[in-house]
Structure formats: C-alpha cells, structure tokens
Symmetry: C2
Subunit: 616 residues, 2 copies
Amino acid sequence: MNAPDKLAQLLSLTREPFPASTKAWITGSRPDLRVPVRDVALSNGEVVSLYDTSGPYTDPAAAIDVRRGLPELRAAWIDERGDTERYEGRLRQALDDGLKHEERDSPRIAQLRADAAALQRIPRRARSGGNVTQMHYARRGIVTPEMEYVALRENGKREWMAEYLADAQRERRLAGNGLGARLPAVITPEFVRDEVARGRAIIPANINHPEVEPMAIGRNFRVKINANIGNSAVTSSIEEEVEKMVWAIRWGADNVMDLSTGRHIHTTRDWILRNSPVPIGTVPLYQALEKVGGVAEDLTWALYRDTLIEQAEQGVDYFTIHAGLRLPFIHLTAQRRTGIVSRGGSIMAKWCIAHHQESFLYTHFEEICEIMKAYDVSFSLGDGLRPGSAADANDEAQFAELRTLGELTQLAWQHDVQTMIEGPGHVPMHMIQANMDEQLKHCHEAPFYTLGPLTIDIAPGYDHIASAIGAAMIGWMGTAMLCYVTPKEHLGLPDREDVKQGIVAYKIAAHAADVAKGHPGARARDDALSKARFEFRWTDQFNLGLDPDTAREFHDETLPKDASKVAHFCSMCGPKFCSMKITQEVRDYAARGMGEKSAEFRAGGGELYVPIQPVG
Amino acid sequence: MNAPDKLAQLLSLTREPFPASTKAWITGSRPDLRVPVRDVALSNGEVVSLYDTSGPYTDPAAAIDVRRGLPELRAAWIDERGDTERYEGRLRQALDDGLKHEERDSPRIAQLRADAAALQRIPRRARSGGNVTQMHYARRGIVTPEMEYVALRENGKREWMAEYLADAQRERRLAGNGLGARLPAVITPEFVRDEVARGRAIIPANINHPEVEPMAIGRNFRVKINANIGNSAVTSSIEEEVEKMVWAIRWGADNVMDLSTGRHIHTTRDWILRNSPVPIGTVPLYQALEKVGGVAEDLTWALYRDTLIEQAEQGVDYFTIHAGLRLPFIHLTAQRRTGIVSRGGSIMAKWCIAHHQESFLYTHFEEICEIMKAYDVSFSLGDGLRPGSAADANDEAQFAELRTLGELTQLAWQHDVQTMIEGPGHVPMHMIQANMDEQLKHCHEAPFYTLGPLTIDIAPGYDHIASAIGAAMIGWMGTAMLCYVTPKEHLGLPDREDVKQGIVAYKIAAHAADVAKGHPGARARDDALSKARFEFRWTDQFNLGLDPDTAREFHDETLPKDASKVAHFCSMCGPKFCSMKITQEVRDYAARGMGEKSAEFRAGGGELYVPIQPVG
C-alpha cells in the first residue's frame, strides 16, 4: 500500500462515530457558536450527552479533506475583534524541516511538502503593540465567544442528569470534596472570564489556529488530559502523526503536544495544526536544537526567537518553555539518582554550563512574552528539573525551579499572557500533596499541568498505570491538566495502540478526579452506566464506557451470542447465580415484605428494620 | 492436543525462572526453615534480591509433579506442636462436585477425579477441644516457625539495599509517611507474634495445607494482593484453573481465592491446594449453594456447616463468610442504585427474606469459630453489602454491615480465630479515607482486605486501572491486602492474560502503597531500577521491573538490535537527543566547573550557586 492510501485507510477508520452516538450541538448567543457534544442513545429511550473532544471526525456529515484542513471556526470571532492584521510572515527555510540547503527531497517528501503548502495560511498577529490574549480581553471585562464556548462546553446538556444531580443534592457524600476548588453548579461565561482574568484558567487558542474548538484548563473546570505525539529521528512518518492526532482526540485527548524531533517537523506541524480541533502544544527548543545540528552549545537567542515566531505563525497554541531552569540550580542535580531527565531541561543545562551564563530563556523572558501576546500563545512553563525517579522527587532542584516558575508567572501575567505550569514526573504517593501545595503557593493558582506523576519506578511496560494513580490523586488535589504516559514510557515510541491505552488510563484518572472534586455532573455518567449495568442493558453499559469497542469485545469473548446481550446474567456467575438478578428478587420481596411481614415480626418482638446510626 | 498435554505445556511455560534470576533461600533458626527469595543478577555484578511468591515453580531444581503435589513444608512444624490428630474425615459425596448420584462421569472427568484421589490426604484437626490457630499460639507467647518465616520473608536480604536505605535515613522525604502504621526497621519474629496476638495481622495457614509458604497480612507488613481464579458454570476447566494459580503466583499473587461454582469444585480444590505454595481462600457459600441446586432458600446451617468442614479438611486457609449481612440491614439496600452486588451477600439476603429470619451465619457464628480454630482457618468477613457503584458508596447499608463485622471480629478473637475484614468495591477517591477510618475504628485494626476500590464506574474493560487507583490509596492508608480486579471485571471471565494484567496492576498499587508508607526497603527496588535506567543498563531495567518480558518486548519493538541494549540512548529521543546522556555530560562538566568556574564567576559578582530555601 502506498503512503496516501495508508493514510486514507487510517483516517477512514477513525471517522466512524462511536456506537449509538450522534454529534449534536449546543448553540450559544450567536449562530456560529455551536459547541459539539456526543449524544449516546440508550436502549431504554434515554439519551446521555457527553463532552466531546473528537472534533468533526466523528460527524459523518462533515466533509473533511486533510489536504485542505478543517473549517476556521473562530475566524469571524478573531476578525470581529479588529485587533489583528494579516502580514507576510517569516520566510520559510529548508532548515525549518531540518534539511540542508543542498539537500534534495525524495519524491515522496517533495509531495508531502507540496501538500503542506496547500495548508499554509497567511499569518495574523496583533496590530502593532497590541495584545490579543484571552487573558487580556478577560481583564478588560470582555467575554469573548471563546469564553462562552468554554462555559457551554463545560456544562454540557444537563437535562438528562436531573435524577443524578438530585442524588448529590440529597446526599452530601455524593457531592464530592473539592479540596479548595471553586465549582459552581452552572458555569457562566462570566465565570470563565473571571477565571481567565485571575490566571486560574487558560484557553489555549492561538489566533493562527482558528480551527480550534475552545477549551479551558483550570482547576475549577473539568480535569483535562494531554497526549503527546511526534515523529522521531529514529522512526515514524508524517502520515502516521496526523492520524495519531485524530486517533488521540477520538479517545478523549483534550490537547495534543507535537514533540517531533528530527526532520520534517515544520511540515508535520502544518498538517497537524490545520487538521486539529484541539489546542496543539510544542517544545520549540526541540526544533531549535535541530537547526543547530543537535549541538546544544550552538543555540542562540536569535535562533530560538525565530523558531518561536515560526511556530506562532503556524498556530501553535502553547509553548513549553523551560525558563525556570536557571544556572544557579544546575549544581543541585549533581547528586541526584537520575540527574536531569527533561529533554528541554538537559539541553538548557548544557547550554548554561557551556557558556557559563544564565539561561537565555530566563534573561529574555519578557521578550518572549511580547511574542506570546501578539499571537495569544500560552506559556506552559516547563519543569526542566523534574525528578526522573522516586529518589529525586521533591528535592531542592525541583522546588527551586518551581519557585522560579512562580516568579515568571507573575511576569507573564504583567503582559496578560496566559500561563500554565508543568509538574513532575516521578513522585511517590506520600509526596504528591506537597507538589500541589507548593505549586498553588508559589504559582498563585496558575493551572498545574503534570506528567503523571509516576508513583513507583518498577513498572516499565505499565507506566500508564503507575502514573494514572498519581495523576488521579493530583488531579483531585487541584491539577488542571494531566499529561498522559503510555505503556511504552521509558522503553520506546508509542504506537497507535499505546496512544489509546495511555489516553484511556488518563481519562480514568481525570474522571476519577472530577468525581472526587464534585465537578457538577461528572458522576452522572457513572450513575447512568451503573444503572444500565444493574438493569442488564449490556449494550448501554458498553456504549457509556470510555471504550465501547473493548467492553463489547471482552463481553463477547465469553458470551458471544447476541441473545446474551439481553440476558439477565453474565459469564462471571452464570444464569442461576447472578447477584444482580437476586437483588432484584430481594427488592421485590422486600417491597412486599416491608408491609406484611414487618408488622407480624414486630408483633413477635423481633427487630426487623433497625434504625441505623449515622456514620461519624 | 489432549487435556494432559495441554496442562503439561502450560505448566512447562510457567516453570521458567525469571530472566537473570535464581531462587535463593534465607535460612532461619532451624534447617527446615528456608525462606525463598528471587536473586536478580545485574550486569554490573550487583544482585538485587526480591520477595518471591512463585513457590518451587520458578526453581529449575525442584522436581514437581502436579499429580502428587508439593512437599509438605510445614508438616514437621505441625507435628512437633503435638496438638493435632489425623482422623478419618468426612465421607466424600458425589454432591461435593455438584453431581447427582445417578450421574456418571465422562471418561475425562473420571480420570481427573482419579488423579485428584491421589492428591487426597488424611486430614488433621486439633485434638479435642484444642485450638491450633497462629493467634492462639501468639497469645500464649509462642513464636511459631510460621512467625519466624514471615519475619525473614518480610525483611528479605538487606545487604544490597544499604545504599538506598542510607538515602532514606539522610532525607526524611524519602522515608515515607505511614499514616499510623508501625513499621520497624527490621521485623523480628517477636514483632510478628505480637501483631498476630493483637489481631493486627494474620498468617493464613490451615494445618491441612502444609505446603503453604507462610505469609502475613497486616498493615505493618508489606501490602499483599489476592488473585481470584475459579471455574464457572459457563466455561473453563480444572486444568486451566490449576495452571492459573501457578500463573498468578508467578506474577506476584500473595494469595489466591478459588471462586469456582458449578461442577467439580471439590476436585478442583484438591488440585489447587496440593499444588499451591500460597494460602488459598474460598467462599464456602458458593459450594453450599451448588449442593442445593442453586436455590438460596434451600440452604441450611447443617449443609453449610458440613461444607465448611469439607473445605477445612481439604486445607482451605481462609473462608469468606458474609456473617455481617443481617436481616435488619436488607431494607437499607432497597433504594440503592445497584442493590446488592456481592454474590454471597445476595444469596444470604435472599435466604433471610425467604425465611424471614436472621442470617444463619450470624446466629451460628460461634459454632463457625469452633470449626475455624480446629483447623486454623482464618475468617475473611465478607462485605455482602459492599457498594456496586459510586452512587452507593459509603451508605448506611455498607457501614451498618461494617460495624457488625467489628462485633464479629471481637467474637472471633475471643476464640483466638484469625480474622480479616473485606471491604469495597466502588468508592470515589474522596470517600476512600472514610472507609479506612471506619474500618480501623470499628474493627480494631483487624487487617482490611479490599476489592479495589474502583474510583469510577465508566471504565468497563479497564477496571483494573480504575480500581488500582483506589487500591493504591487505600493500601497507603492502611489496607493490608488488595483483591485484584482484572480488565474483564463486569464483562466476562478473566483468561490467562487478564489474570496477569490484573496482578501487575495490583502489584503496582501494592508497591506504590509500600513506598508511600515507607516500608523499609520497598523503595530500594525502585532506586536500583532507576539507577540501571540512568546508566543505560537496559537489561537490568527490564529484569528489575514487575514484568521483564513485556518491558523487553516493548523496547525491542522500536530498537530490536542487541546492540541497542547497551546503547546510551533509546528510541524516544534518538542518539543525539538523549537527556540522560546530556545529564551525564552536565554532571562531568559541573564537577570540573564547580571548582574553576565558580570562583571566577563569583569574582565577577554573579550568583552561581545560590543556597536554596528549604521547602516549608
């Protein structure tokens, strides 16, 4: 199969809607403000409506041509604000794709680059001296369409939840424990504006990524997840990367980071951005390093700056920038068990030491802010000194950098640049709370965005699980976005199946956090699924799960016949032994017995229905 | 392939030692007290010694014939105590295997039963009126060989850990937070005796299961995990079940529950017990129900009692008994989202309501204690009213039963019967601590043994992950044993791969709990692996992980060449980009630079190595 055919085949696979699901929209205050949801039709006639990250790809009615890109959803909103201009943009260079001038493209690569050319846009930027960040608008009291979109999206449809929301009102134990989060029953556009203005949430939305369906990252919203994709010097191809993005958002990635290194990363990014309905993040340092042939010492501020502009013009929504790794902190890592494990961190450490100078990311931080605000690129302040093992968790190196990220957050906020803070890494359970506490204290509630953390080091091949434990806990404690870890972590590049496994593990962690925090409505999906389970609506149970395909497949391995989908038993217990079936009989019996039998029993002096003491 | 050949093939697979691993022993105060460990030889000449649940199956020198059973490790210890007698035992009945009298076995089943006959032993029991429980000995001040065995096993070899233990002494943050656990640096036999005497730990070790390698379940020991296996009315076979046990302990199951229902469960148990080096638990109610044709109302105390004796004579080490599900609590479940989901619980609820009588398990509890103490069967007091969904977590039904389990614990302790308490189930993260608190309060620190808990309901197909999150947390908080959940939970019967996935997920949870609690030496394995990772000792990294095969396989998918096993880079970053490689360069540079450069820099007025404020 040739490459385009392979891509077409992969994309056609990921364009299937989820079982029993249809794309629906919640329309806001203007007709072009339409927030997608996934409505799942249950076999009992009910509908459960879910948050939907999958973009137009799961809408059979959407005409999608990956060679032309997605519709520019936000173009009118950006235009109407009248504070941006189109401009010529930076001149593209062969080096952007890691190619030497004299090098000739292979026919296949030449074709891909030609295709990418059709996806290139004339960039926008803020009119001279302007500031086009969502934070800037928010602080001036403006509720943007993006903010309204986020509010509608966070609420979703509420009608179907009524029964479950009533439960939580009746029983305090079901309402969650926000641990300091501020979770209104219904999120208003004004609430979103307020959170963004205070820096407690960000809406990553570069003006050059008008295709994005806006979403918020903040502790008072649903916990989000990020999936990393990216080619590599060793393996993979552009086609696979685009399809990985579509695959990642299908399973629930709220954000995608393109961590490509090696060649063709500019072209890869064109493809991904123009086809991505979710915010795209990058680590610009990776590309900058490619441009200097992988020699960290040869990096310069001028070259790095040029790379930021290159990527901002393409539409990258947030940049990981390791500006908190300062020269004076580097010696703190010398006695570590695993030194510096962040790629960006180790590059910058090497640069600092080679030049014996403070990091140019730190010294030029306000110049970076000027670029960020001209395009509304958000900071993801990188944790270059995050621990790479349990032994290094919460050490001085890590927390010295974290405090610096707090200083930089305040600088960024002076420029109204949206900012989130990256966090570790490898952290045993008993040390997780301290990470959250330190981050809240020093970074003033700027959204925390953590990688896991992995709670143990001994699970290579299963680090998605070892880290989902830490991710769920830190999500509950206040982390706004969880960067996924795949089963291949520490071992190799994730393939399609690994990406899915990592995302599902992180959807579990994020949802567990939302339920524990008491995000309004989060538990309603659990309740709907459990109700289906109890009522033996097998298909509904599958379809309400995070991965309907796998649930159905697992069930069918033991009981493949269609009849068993409506059977009032399952393969664990068999027909005579089903506890759920017996419960229903008990319930019927109790309903009768409560009246007839209890009087009889009480007359005989027995205790039948004792009042139960409340739990202290 | 015929059945015996299939078994032989499966068993031969699971008899492979782990890579680079050899079985070694720690010898105690007598030559027949030899505690197995797994010594992993690293490529740098170091040896890491690990807790080993796999029994003789991973010892190539052990001659094993599953048709004859394992050596009777504890036979001499039991004999020497001189307080037991051999006796004729209960007469075996066709009904024990769920067969009708007139029914004829198929030739294959007849053969299996004949094989099982060769595995039957003349049972032992306490001499008249005697008590042979480990708790009874402990309370009389006797340190049994079983207690010494446990002490040696919990400590393992310590020499190799010296470097890592020193880290934890130097840095308080690495020492863990026991949350009320009492974890001595070295566990003495006297400590074990004391914990067992106080009821805070149990050593499940039926005198009719002399093959068992003793282990302890208690909050002040390593967190243990249980794997469930069992045939079913619908599928599976005896051969598969025996092999599943061997497979389960290979991957780290500390205990195995045989939850067989349907036919041939007596025979299945003979096979499993005689070949199991780990304690075996059952739910005797399942077999009792089979004997009355699945009609709960037809259960009687006499028939149940007979089943307890049948299983005690076979050597079952602990019984799940749902004696806390009392008649007055049943109505509390009527408004639940998912009623009663415990199989045992729903059977007893049905019985109680049908007869309108208090549960015979509750009313005959002291008679049950008499049986338990004659064989040293431990109680696993079942949570028949555990929540089956997030919506039902921590409700009155659940906690009313838990308080009753506390009452029963005190009754059992009056008989010196070892007791642990089963716990839920489905519990969102914010409600987990209350479960542990209530259990500690009402059950007086008797070991808690929880199923997960599952933190969300929407992950069918991934419930091993959804529950590993809750399991890790509750393990840290004080739960002594975690009952695994497989990916097939709620959907179907786990196969061989599911069992492994469930166990690995639970080893992760248990280890994460041990590390967080600060179990002495737990983190040493993480440190050794991380050190190997940092030093690019790929093979050591694989071999120190929970699943060396998968780690290696994942690595080789991207970089299959043998050369890359010693390469100082991996597929994630490629040769030029490796952060660990760069870190080493930074470290070398810093070591030089610290002397030369810092003086020079300080002379220029720069801050180079600032003192870092301690974290508050």
